[in-house]
C-alpha cells in the first residue's frame, strides 16, 4: 500500500497536489495538527514530562490541578491517589497509544487488504471461504472478543496488538473485497486484461491505486479504534502490565475516587477524545484530498 501511495504522489503534478490539499480543507489541517501533537508528545515524553511517571509521593496524594484550591505548582495537573504526577502519566501514556495505533492498525490493514484482494479478485470458493470467515467474525462483539483474546494471550503490549489485529482485520477485508469486485468490472480493468496484464499486476497497477483514498481513511479510523481498544483493555486491567501509565488505567483508577478527585478521570478522557477526533478528521481530510472524483 505504501507503494501505491508513492505511485500516486509521484504521478500527481505539484499543482494537483496543492489542489488536493485545498480540497482537504480545515479537517485536514486540524486533524493533522492534533495527530502531530500526539506523536510529538509521545516521541519527546522524557523531555516533556516534569516528573518520573512512576515516582510516588504519598505525602502529596490526590492534589488537584495547580489552578484549583489546594493545588501545587510542581504538579500542574495534580496527582493521583499514590501521589504520582498526572501530567507526566498522561504524557507517557501517549507512547503506548501511538505504538498501538501504528503497529496494530498497520498489521490489521495488511492482513485485511491481502484477504480482501484475494476474495475480491479470485471469487469462487476463495471468496466463499473468506466471506464465511468474515461472517463468523462479525457475529462477535468486537470489544468482548478483544477482551477475551487479550486475557487468554496474557498481559503485555504484544497481546494488546494481537487482540486488535485478530479482531479488526475484517474492517479492511470487507471493504477491499467489495471495492475490488466493483473495480474489476469497470472498463479500465477489462482494458488492462485485454492488453495482457497478469492478475497480480492488474491488482497492483489498476485496482490498488483506486483503493488508496478509501484505505487511507480506513487506516486513520482504525488507528483511532486501536487507541480506544487499548484504553478499554487497560481500563479493564488486562493491557500492559503493572504500573506502566496508560490512559485506560488512569480512568480505571479515577473511577474509584471519582467523587473525591474527578479530574483524574476527566483528563485522560480529554486526551483520548482529541486523539481519536484528530485521527478521524485527518482520515476524512486525506480522503477528500486524495480522491480525484468525489469532490463534494
Amino acid at each position: 500500500m505504501a507503494d501505491a501511495m508513492a505511485d500516486i504522489a509521484l504521478t500527481l503534478p505539484p499543482s494537483r497536489l496543492l489542489a488536493g490539499l485545498k480540497r482537504g480543507g480545515a479537517r485536514l489541517w486540524v486533524g493533522a495538527a492534533l495527530v502531530a501533537v500526539l506523536v510529538l508528545v509521545a516521541a519527546f515524553a522524557p523531555v516533556l514530562a516534569p516528573h518520573d511517571p512512576l515516582e510516588q509521593d504519598l505525602m502529596s496524594a490526590q492534589l488537584p490541578p495547580a489552578w484549583m484550591q489546594g493545588g501545587d505548582h510542581a504538579y500542574l495537573l495534580g496527582t493521583d491517589s499514590l501521589g504520582r504526577c498526572v501530567l507526566s502519566r498522561l504524557i507517557y501514556s501517549a507512547r503506548i497509544a501511538v505504538a498501538v495505533a501504528l503497529i496494530a492498525a498497520t498489521l490489521a490493514a495488511l492482513i485485511g487488504v491481502a484477504l480482501g484482494l484475494f476474495a475480491g479478485s479470485f471469487g469462487g470458493w476463495v471468496d466463499q471461504l473468506i466471506s464465511r470467515l468474515i461472517d463468523v467474525w462479525m457475529a462477535f462483539p468486537p470489544v468482548l472478543l478483544s477482551i477475551v483474546l487479550a486475557a487468554v494471550i496474557g498481559a503485555g503490549l504484544t497481546s494488546v496488538i494481537a487482540a486488535i489485529v485478530v479482531v479488526d482485520w475484517t474492517r479492511f477485508a470487507r471493504v477491499v473485497r467489495a471495492e475490488t469486485m466493483v473495480q474489476l468490472t469497470r472498463d479500465y480493468a477489462a482494458a488492462a486484461r485485454v492488453i495482457g496484464l497478469s492478475r497480480a499486476k492488474l491488482l497492483r497497477l489498476e485496482v490498488l491505486p483506486n483503493l488508496v483514498p478509501l484505505l487511507v481513511t480506513l487506516l486513520a479510523v482504525e488507528m483511532g479504534i486501536a487507541i480506544l481498544v487499548e484504553v478499554i483493555l487497560s481500563f479493564v486491567g488486562i493491557s500492559v502490565a503493572g504500573d506502566t501509565p496508560t490512559w485506560g488505567s488512569m480512568i480505571a483508577e479515577g473511577r474509584q475516587i471519582v467523587y473525591q478527585a474527578p479530574w483524574i478521570m476527566a483528563l485522560p478522557i480529554v486526551c483520548i477524545i482529541s486523539s481519536v477526533i484528530g485521527l478521524n478528521l485527518l482520515g476524512d481530510g486525506l480522503r477528500l484530498a486524495l480522491d480525484p472524483v468525489q469532490r463534494s
Binding site: 461472517d135 463468523v136 470489544v143 496474557g154 488486562i238 480512568i251 473511577r255 474527578p262 478521570m265 478522557i269
Partner: protein, 335 residues
C-alpha cells in the same frame, strides 16, 4: 433483498454458528493458561488436581472435549461456572434480562433522538443551520459509547449529581418482582415508583449507548430523506398542493425509513456490544459486566456461554433487521 435472499441468510446461520462455536472453543482451550491452576486451594494434592481436571473433562483429547462440549451446548447445558460455582445457563438467564432492558431503552432513546435530529436537519436543508446539525451529528458519532459513559458519569453523576452512577437498583429498595425483566414487569404491573427508580439508574448508561447510535440514525435517515425528497414523486406531491411538512411526513418518510432500518438496524449489534463496557462503567448487573468478571477470573465455561450468547443475539438481530426491511418495502414483499 428478496425472500430468496432471506432464505439464503437463514441457511447460512447454522454454519456461522458452528464457526462461532469452533472459535470460542479453540480460543479458550488451545491458548496457554490453566484454569484449574486458578481454582485449586493452596496445599491441594496432585490427586485433587487430577480429580478436578476429570470433573471438568480437561483430561480428554481436545477433539473429544469439543464434541462433548458441542453436544452439551446443543442440549442447553452450558456447564458450570468455575468462579461463581453455578450453572452457566442459570447465570445467563438471571443477568440477560438486565442487558436486554438496557439495550431496548437505549434503542428507544436513540431512535427518538435520531429521528428528531434528522427531521430538524432536513427542515433546515440548504440553510446555514443545517451545517451545525451535521457537525453536531459528526461529533456525536466520533466519540464511542464507553467514552460517553465516562463523560456522562462525570457530568451528571459527579459534577452535577442528578442521577445514580452505579447498579441497577438501590440496594435498600426491596424488589418484589417475579421475572428478571424488572423494568418491563414493573411497568406492566403498574408499579411506577419501582419503574422510576429503575429508570433513574438506567438512564445514564442507556443514554451513553444511545448517543452514537442516535447520531448514526440521524445521519442515515437525513441522507435518505434528502435523497427521497429529490425523487420525482416527492416533487410532484408539491405540484399537488401538499405542504412541505406533509410531504416529508407522508411521502418521503416511509421511503427513507427503508434504507435507514436496513443500514441502521445492522449497527444495533454495535449498541449491544457496547453494553459490555458501559455496564462495567456503571456497575450495572448485566451480562456485559459479568463477561468482564469472567475474563478476569478466567472462568472459561462462563466466557464460552457469554460469547455464544452474544453471537446468537447478533445473528438473530441481523436476521430480524432483514425481515423488518422486507416487511417495510412492498417491492420486496411481493418480489
Amino acid at each position: 433483498m428478496r425472500w430468496g435472499e432471506i432464505i439464503k441468510r437463514l441457511v447460512l446461520v447454522p454454519p456461522t454458528l458452528f464457526g462461532v462455536a469452533v472459535i470460542v472453543f479453540v480460543l479458550l482451550r488451545v491458548v496457554p493458561g490453566d484454569p484449574i491452576a486458578m481454582m485449586i486451594p493452596p496445599g491441594a494434592s496432585e490427586a485433587d488436581i487430577t480429580r478436578l481436571r476429570a470433573l471438568y473433562g480437561l483430561d480428554q483429547p481436545i477433539l473429544q472435549q469439543f464434541a462433548t462440549w458441542l453436544g452439551q451446548v446443543a442440549s442447553g447445558d452450558l456447564g458450570r461456572s468455575i468462579s461463581v460455582r453455578q450453572g452457566v445457563l442459570d447465570l445467563l438467564l438471571a443477568r440477560l434480562p438486565a442487558t436486554i432492558e438496557l439495550a431496548l431503552l437505549a434503542t428507544v432513546i436513540a431512535v427518538v433522538l435520531g429521528v428528531l435530529v434528522a427531521l430538524a436537519g432536513i427542515l433546515l436543508r440548504g440553510r446555514r443551520a443545517e451545517w451545525a446539525v451535521d457537525g453536531g451529528v459528526g461529533a456525536l458519532l466520533a466519540i464511542p459509547d464507553f467514552l460517553w459513559a465516562l463523560i456522562l458519569l462525570l457530568l451528571f453523576g459527579v459534577l452535577i449529581p442528578w442521577l445514580p452512577i452505579s447498579g441497577r437498583v438501590d440496594p435498600q429498595i426491596d424488589i418484589d418482582l417475579r421475572s428478571n425483566f424488572y423494568l418491563l414487569e414493573s411497568l406492566l404491573t403498574g408499579r411506577f415508583d419501582t419503574a422510576s427508580a429503575l429508570l433513574h439508574h438506567m438512564f445514564l448508561p442507556a443514554l451513553a449507548l444511545a448517543l452514537p447510535f442516535a447520531a448514526l440514525v440521524a445521519r442515515i435517515l437525513k441522507a435518505s430523506l434528502a435523497d427521497a425528497e429529490d425523487q420525482d414523486y416527492a416533487q410532484i406531491a408539491r405540484a399537488r398542493g401538499y405542504s412541505r411538512p406533509a410531504i416529508l411526513l407522508h411521502e418521503v418518510f416511509p421511503n427513507a425509513l427503508i434504507p435507514t432500518v436496513a443500514l441502521g438496524g445492522v449497527q444495533l449489534t454495535l449498541l449491544l456490544g457496547g453494553t459490555v463496557l458501559v455496564e462495567r462503567i456503571f456497575s450495572y448487573e448485566g451480562i456485559g459486566n459479568m463477561a468482564i468478571d469472567a475474563v478476569i477470573n478466567r472462568d472459561f465455561p462462563l466466557i464460552q456461554g457469554l460469547v455464544l450468547t452474544f453471537a446468537v443475539l447478533f445473528i438473530a438481530l441481523n436476521l430480524a433487521v432483514d425481515l423488518v426491511v422486507a416487511l417495510l418495502d412492498p417491492r420486496l414483499r411481493h418480489g
